[in-house]
């Protein structure tokens, strides 16, 4: 088993043969543009929308433009060199930037202004192209040997543009309509979600580090603690949330001090306990491995230089262990973002409420409104902490 829970970024040599990856990704995009529904229209929020292909949605000029841009990307990949890769990056950014305008055109063509409830859904073709463009961005980043900061900046810019378009001109879009109907609720839910994840991860970082340190001191503790933590992971998150309801309800009913502190069977307390219980294993495992992995030679060199034990820990062991430790924080946080959504089932609030309410009402736009921020949040945290890990790795970024 590899020690890191994610693969390090591989280094690539630049060849002069065609870049098969980009060519095949372009082919996939072309197939998605012409073969899948670009958008869907629905008369209201409950009815399943009817799909529309690219010709209907964008008209032939739009379809031609989209195909030509993708073809350009594929053609540039046939002659890979830094200039062409940069140009390909430009094309990818251009397509990303043009996508909301395509939706505007589709809304103009397809949505009858006489129906105030009519809404435009984003179709499978659009999602596939968006996802593949993300993959192109990853590939280009690796080929151009850019740091992780670049795609983050690009995506932030594109996201801002999308947001602006949605704000100003995309009133027909189902997602925007759904958002306008409950924007206060959504913003509050995002806040709750972030706070829950933040508190749970902070607690588990502190507890996890303490536990890992204790394990290093008392070897006997190690086996038992890992066994308990492993067992906790086999209990489904759903059940752990459910199992905490009754004991906590009993506690808050019988111990008034706890009730005053806000402990109750339903809501934040069981959610937090379950989240911390789940987060402890990846946290402890990575912290323990990180501290153990520091090479004995380095430590010996440190003591030969006259360092005391505490100096050795703070100045040698900890800095060297930090990247792997952060890896643990990253895994824990991403996992907690997903688990917090489940916590909505026991009344903890957060974005999961939108998902489960939407599922209950069979209103898929509402489900989307809850799921997309979760996805974006997870990707953002993942990218940010990966970048931080890269910076802190011995040697750092070149």
């Amino acid at each position: 088993m590899s020690l890191l829970d994610a693969l390090p970024t591989p280094r690539l040599e630049r060849g002069s043969y065609p870049n098969v990856v980009l060519v095949s990704l372009s082919a996939v995009m072309l197939a998605a543009i012409w073969g899948l529904d670009a958008v869907s229209m629905a008369p209201n929020r409950i009815v399943q929308g009817a799909g529309a292909g690219v010709m209907e949605a964008l008209g032939w000029p739009g379809a031609l433009l989209a195909s030509l841009l993708v073809l350009a990307l594929g053609t540039l990949a046939f002659r890979p060199n830094p200039t062409n890769y940069s140009a390909a990056l430009g094309v990818v950014v251009l397509i990303l930037a043009l996508m909301p305008f395509g939706l505007m055109v589709a809304g103009h063509f397809l949505i009858d202004p006489a129906l105030p409830q009519a809404r435009l859904g984003i179709g499978a073709g659009y999602w596939v192209v968006l996802f593949v463009l993300l993959l192109c961005l990853i590939e280009l980043r690796l080929r151009l040997a850019l740091t992780r900061l670049w795609p983050m900046l690009i995506l932030a810019g594109v996201g801002l543009l999308w947001w602006l378009c949605a704000w100003l001109w995309l009133g027909d879009l189902a997602l925007v309509q759904e958002y306008r109907a409950r924007d206060q609720q959504l913003i509050r839910a995002v806040g709750q979600h972030v706070v829950l994840v933040g508190v749970a991860v902070s607690i588990s970082v502190v507890l996890g580090t303490l536990l890992a340190l204790l394990m290093r001191r008392y070897a006997r503790l190690q086996k038992g603690a890992f066994a308990v933590l492993n067992f906790l992971q086999t209990i489904p998150s759903l059940a752990l949330f459910g199992l905490l309801l009754a004991p906590l309800a009993w506690l808050s009913a019988n111990v008034p001090v706890l009730a005053e502190l806000g402990v109750s069977g339903i809501g934040n307390t069981p959610a937090l306990i379950a989240l911390v219980a789940y987060s402890l294993l990846p946290m402890v495992r990575n912290t323990y491995i990180a501290l153990e992995e520091v090479s004995a030679d380095t430590l010996e060199a440190a003591s030969a230089m006259g360092m005391r034990a505490s100096q050795r820990f703070w100045q040698v062991r900890l800095p060297l262990a930090l990247p792997v430790l952060l890896e643990g924080v990253r895994i824990t946080t991403v996992q907690a973002i997903g688990l917090t959504a489940v916590a909505a089932l026991i009344g903890a609030g957060g974005l999961g409420t939108f998902i489960f309410q939407g599922l209950g009402q069979a209103a898929m736009d509402m489900v989307l409104l809850g799921a997309l921020p979760i996805l974006i949040l997870a990707l953002m945290v993942d990218a940010a902490l990966s970048a931080l890990t890269e910076v802190l790795r011995p040697g750092g970024v070149q």
């Binding site: 693969l7 590939e139 086999t234 489904p236 759903l238 999961g352």
Partner: protein, 263 residues
């Protein structure tokens, strides 16, 4: 190598064989006892939940729920293993080497997507029921398998592969007889992680109408009936422990077989 040493080596795995299979067997028996015995343990659950109208989950028998749960996890596992190991092999060949970074990144992206979100996004496309949860499990379980396949295949020493080539093996033979057997324990560890995670995650499927062991849990949370939750959680945990110990035994056996050859 002397005669006695050879004999001892043959006997060691044999003697260990019994020890290997006792743990999974024990967990498995416990699982069966629970599945068969919970409907009769009404007194026990009544003590836990004295006010509830019903304390034993009745909507479907537990063995049916267990069967469906295993079917969902199994279907997802088969696809994930085929895709994950296939992709891992493909990108370590000369032809597919270009795709290596992308596949590695894609797999780790798959685990960044929270299963709840994937589940929710899959419902509009695949409808309510079992399909969305299989899809979510596939995405979530892909990373450990791809990562371990890549790690296992890359750990095979170049010298060994060169020796195999020098013996006249074709690339396919090298893959079949040298690389895969040597990488097998690492790949198996990946499959183990993936399947164990997915057994617990599959319970989420009950929120989108897939009927499996998550059903009693959801019903328990909604009705405030702790007994239901415990019944579902107990069986899922036992299932996970059974399969985990089974994989553990398989891994030990594989490792023993690899190291059993006299040096």
């Amino acid at each position: 190598m002397t005669h006695s040493a050879t004999r001892r080596q043959r006997r060691v795995p044999h003697a260990g064989q019994k020890r290997f299979w006792t743990r999974p067997l024990l967990w498995g028996v416990l699982l069966c006892i629970c599945v068969a015995g919970i409907p009769y343990a009404e007194g026990l659950f009544r003590w836990l939940e004295p006010d509830a109208r019903q304390v034993i989950y009745q909507r479907a028998p537990f063995y049916a729920l267990l069967g469906r749960h295993m079917l969902v996890v199994g279907a997802a596992a088969v696809v994930t293993i085929a895709v994950g190991v296939g992709a891992g092999i493909a990108v370590t060949r000369r032809r597919g080497r270009d795709f290596l970074p992308l596949v590695a990144q894609l797999a780790s992206l798959g685990q960044t997507f929270p299963p709840v979100a994937v589940l929710a996004l899959a419902v509009p496309i695949l409808g309510f029921g079992t399909l969305p949860i299989i899809m979510a499990l596939m995405l979530y379980g892909l990373l450990p398998i791809v990562r371990n396949t890549l790690a296992g295949l890359q750990e095979v020493e170049g010298d060994i592969k060169t020796a195999a080539r020098a013996m006249g093996m074709t690339p396919v033979q090298i893959l079949q007889r040298v690389e895969l057997p040597l990488a097998a324990p690492v790949i198996l560890a990946g499959i183990r992680t993936s399947v164990t995670i997915n057994i617990a995650t599959a319970a989420l499927g009950a929120t989108v109408g897939a009927s499996n062991l998550g059903d009693p849990i959801i019903a328990g949370i909604i009705n405030g009936n702790m007994a239901y939750v415990i019944q579902g959680a107990l069986i899922i945990a036992l299932l996970a422990l059974t399969l985990d110990s089974l994989f553990d035994s398989l891994q030990t056996r594989l490792r023993q077989r690899l190291s059993a050859f006299p040096r």
